[in-house]
Every structure is written in structure tokens, then in C-alpha cells.
């Protein structure tokens, strides 16, 4: 990932736009890791918070919670941004509203 020049700001391939988002990381060994991207570097090393490995067999899947993970970039195949479901959008909105109300200190 090169440093963005002024003309590259809109054309960036960096993972910066994916920071703090819930992602799917596909690894070379076939594992699927879900988590929130907290950090990355030029090698596509990544830090995933609240990571879990999703194991899918046919129609069934299960999540194994892993905690805080650092993935070495050479193992990364793909990092996918998950489309936010309606409930997640709603809960994000509730979160920001609560933060604003806490500031008002209404109790």
C-alpha cells in the first residue's frame, strides 16, 4: 500500500477506510475470521478485535471466539467489508444517541 499522493486520496487501496469496521478476513488456509479491524500496515498485517473463526459445514455454522488477533499479511487472501444489517445500524444509532444523552447528564 503506497502513501497516497494528493490525487490518490479518492483512489486509495489502503485499508484505512475499513478501520473500526466489522470485517471478514479470508486466509490462505481457508479459515474465515470475523472481527473489527483496529490496525494494519503495508504488508496487510492486520489487528482484529473480537475476532471469531466461523466454521461452515453445509447449512450449519458456528463461531469460535478468539479475542484479539494479529494476522500476518502473507496469509491474507481477502478482507471483505460486511454489509451492515438493519439491526446493527439501529444499535449504532442508539449508541450515539445514548452517548449524547450521557453528556447532557439528565439523571
Amino acid at each position: 500500500m503506497s502513501w497516497a499522493g494528493p490525487e490518490d486520496i479518492y483512489l486509495s487501496t489502503s485499508l484505512a477506510n475499513y478501520l473500526d469496521k466489522k470485517l471478514l478476513a479470508l486466509l490462505r488456509d481457508g479459515r474465515k475470521l470475523f472481527g473489527t479491524l483496529r490496525s494494519f500496515d503495508q504488508f496487510a498485517n492486520a489487528v482484529l478485535e473480537g475476532a471469531c473463526e466461523r466454521i461452515i459445514v453445509g447449512d450449519l455454522y458456528c463461531d469460535i471466539p478468539l479475542g484479539l488477533y494479529i494476522i500476518r499479511g502473507e496469509n491474507v487472501v481477502l478482507i471483505g467489508e460486511l454489509a451492515q444489517k438493519a439491526e446493527e445500524v439501529a444499535s449504532d444509532l442508539k449508541g450515539t444517541m445514548k452517548k449524547r444523552m450521557d453528556f447532557l447528564d439528565m439523571d
Partner: protein
């Protein structure tokens, strides 16, 4: 640098990226960098049933090292331009 420049000109076009793990992704080329990492938007998996975990992935970042092919629309290639650029690279590089 040649293919980096070439892909930069293809930004906005529909491409299919076939990966070394046989996963094929179709999408709009959003951006590319010097390592030929690729960002795709509006990503669809070619064989969706085989890869259910990719269902809710709309945009993705693909590490350049795992790409096997980038399939382009037939009118996406100006062969003459590529030839000239290649000759220049061979001479100057």
C-alpha cells in the same frame, strides 16, 4: 509500474478477479496500488453457493499476492498502447 499504470486506467470497469484459491470475484475496480492489491466494489462471487460466507460482502480488499488472473472486458485492452508501453519499459527499465 507498467501494470500499476494500466490498472489505474481500468478503475471503474467491471472485472473478474480469479484468486489462487480458485475463488472468483466479479466487481467494479475501485482502486489498485503498487503491489497490485485490488479493491473491488459491488462484489459478487461467481459461484455463490460454494462460498456462503461471502454473501454479505459488498466491498473487499484483495491482496495482490493471491491473484491468479484479472479478467477484463474485451474492449478494456488497447493492445497497441500496451505494446508501446512494454517496449518503452524494456528499453528504459
Amino acid at each position: 509500474m507498467l501494470f500499476f499504470s494500466y490498472f489505474k486506467d481500468l478503475v471503474g470497469r467491471e472485472v473478474t478477479v480469479e484468486l489462487k484459491n480458485d475463488l472468483a470475484l466479479r466487481g467494479t475496480l475501485h482502486s489498485v496500488d503498487q503491489y497490485l492489491n485490488i479493491k473491488l466494489e459491488n462484489t459478487r462471487v461467481v459461484d455463490q453457493d460454494k462460498y456462503p460466507h461471502m454473501l454479505s460482502v459488498r466491498n473487499c480488499f484483495i491482496r495482490g499476492s493471491v491473484v491468479r488472473y484479472v479478467q477484463l472486458p474485451p474492449d478494456g485492452v488497447d493492445v497497441e498502447l500496451l505494446h508501446d508501453a512494454t517496449r518503452r519499459e524494456a528499453r528504459g527499465g
